[in-house]
Amino acid sequence: MRFSIALILVLCIAAHLLLPLAPLREAQAIDPSLAELLLIELRLPRTLLVIGYGAALGASGAALQAIFANPLASPDISGASSGAALGAVIGGYWLGLTQPLALAACGAAGALGTLALLVALAGRKADTATLLLAGLAISLAAGAATSLALALAPSPFAFYDAFDWLMGSFVDRSLAQAAAALIPAGIATALLLRRARALDLVGLGEDVAASLGLRPRQLSLEVIILSAIAVGACVAVAGAIGFVGLVAPLFGRRLSRGHPGSAMLPAALVGAILLSLADLAVRAVPLDRPIPVGVVTALFGTPLFIWMVITMRRRLTA
């Protein structure tokens, strides 16, 4: 099972890198070095960003679900993605930052702010309803604040300009931008994955974990900070993309036989697959204007989310 997931991921990476094939072939016909340029300078950053962002969303989604002990906690539902977008907008349009890494830091700070607010509002042991309501309130507030920040921004083009990436876009990202998102996100995700066993044990209850010498509060703080860095850096470069961080852990736990911590690695792989498929779909649409990737993930993610809510309700009332 794990092998087939890895295989599917490799196929997705290859497809994302090579499709559509026609431009590569034409470039090859004109000049082989042109094809190489196209592949390395244009396609590769996009592929790396898509795979890395998807993996970061999957792993941090699974980690957040583990510490909140709730299968609905995720970067988007918790408001972390919206917070990251707000941070990046403030950094980009108000502080005038242009360095990709500085913007990534703003994104991480925004995500951390919203997650801290969520913990303060709902608490870590909140029931599903409280968590969802608090997350929704924070998301809405952050979204409104983002719109306000754009409307009042010194640049009159801010709104138009930002629409391109706010809903998620991988178009024309440079290698430097990809690196600014992926280096922090990669480190944070790797550190999260190291906590798989600890998060499995937290699944037995915080007191049981503490009796084994873990520090559940410290662990939660660590997960929140690392998730904020992973998601925030990616959002700053490629925009807020919903549902992948919610849905990928669901598949991840199928592969980890229900273990919330060990689900992080498979969730990362599934997240990378889902996002690469979504971006392939965006590129396959024959329009002269790009559709935001976030629209595609929402289109497929919403029915899945509704199905989750229904099955959860059925289990609660059963």
Binding site: A69, N70, P71, D200, L201, G203, L204, G205, E206, D207, V208, A210, S211, L212, G213, L214, R215, P216, R217, R253, R257, G258, H259, P260
Partner: protein, 242 residues
């Protein structure tokens, strides 16, 4: 021989600094009114994050002990039987061990008659079934001290008796057990009973001595009637006992 020694263990506002010595092979009942501090004492002994004081087991300080070491020294079963995640019963038991030891897991499955449930996700089991799985998890690593919060709740009569048998066998093999419980009819099964109220250990006696004492009834606000049943104490009883 002393197994567990607790010095000034405390939990903010819930448990006053408490000293406790538990010899190996002893089965101790913790009783007391709701909110009296039974769970707090167990949690403090299990070293939850805010717990104060110091706990040693066979002279070894728990706080700096590694995870593998702690599994050999103590295990804690919380009163909550909720598990959020769809982990198979067999794998929940495996989480009680450092590495998946198939023989030991099979032994625990047989001991708690979980053969038919072993591959079902625990979040879909009944509360009583889940209690068996979680208790198996707590016992799996054969720790020297077992801290069990209301292990007999949610069980049918057969399983109450079976659990008491399993616990006694653990005590005979040299493990020390502290159990919080509410059903006073089970008290005679224990070697020693602690009465906890107001965040303090009020009495530390044999179960028979505890139940016979006037203070026991006073703290619980009950008394033994002529028929050997418990009934609620009336204000006049309190007057006359003064």
């Amino acid at each position: 021989m002393t197994s567990l020694q607790a010095i000034d263990v405390a939990l903010d506002r819930r448990l006053q600094p408490t000293n406790l010595e538990v010899p190996a092979g002893q089965m101790i009942a913790l009783v007391g009114p709701n909110g009296g501090g039974k769970t707090s004492l167990l949690r403090a002994l299990a070293r939850v994050e805010q717990a104060g004081g110091k706990v040693t087991i066979d002279g070894e300080n728990l706080d700096p002990a590694s995870q593998a070491r702690r599994r050999r020294l103590l295990s804690f079963l919380p009163a909550s039987r909720d598990v959020t995640w769809p982990i198979a019963a067999r794998n929940v038991i495996a989480l009680g061990l450092d590495r998946a030891d198939g023989d030991r897991i099979a032994e625990m499955i047989a001991l708690f008659e979980l053969e038919a449930l072993a591959d079902r996700p625990v979040d879909r089991l009944s509360t009583g079934e889940r209690a068996r799985v979680l208790t198996a998890r707590a016992l799996a690593a054969r720790p020297r001290v077992l801290l069990l919060d209301e292990p007999l709740s949610n069980l049918d009569p057969y399983w109450v008796l079976r659990f008491l048998e399993v616990f006694r066998a653990a005590a005979v093999s040299g493990q020390a057990l502290l159990l919080a419980l509410h059903d006073l009819t089970q008290l005679p099964e224990f070697d020693r009973a602690l009465l906890i109220a107001g965040g303090e250990v009020q009495m530390d006696e044999t179960p028979a001595g505890l139940m016979a004492s006037e203070r026991f009834g006073e703290i619980f606000r009950i008394r033994e009637s002529a028929g050997g049943r418990w009934e609620i104490r009336t204000p006049e009883d309190r007057q006359s006992s003064r």
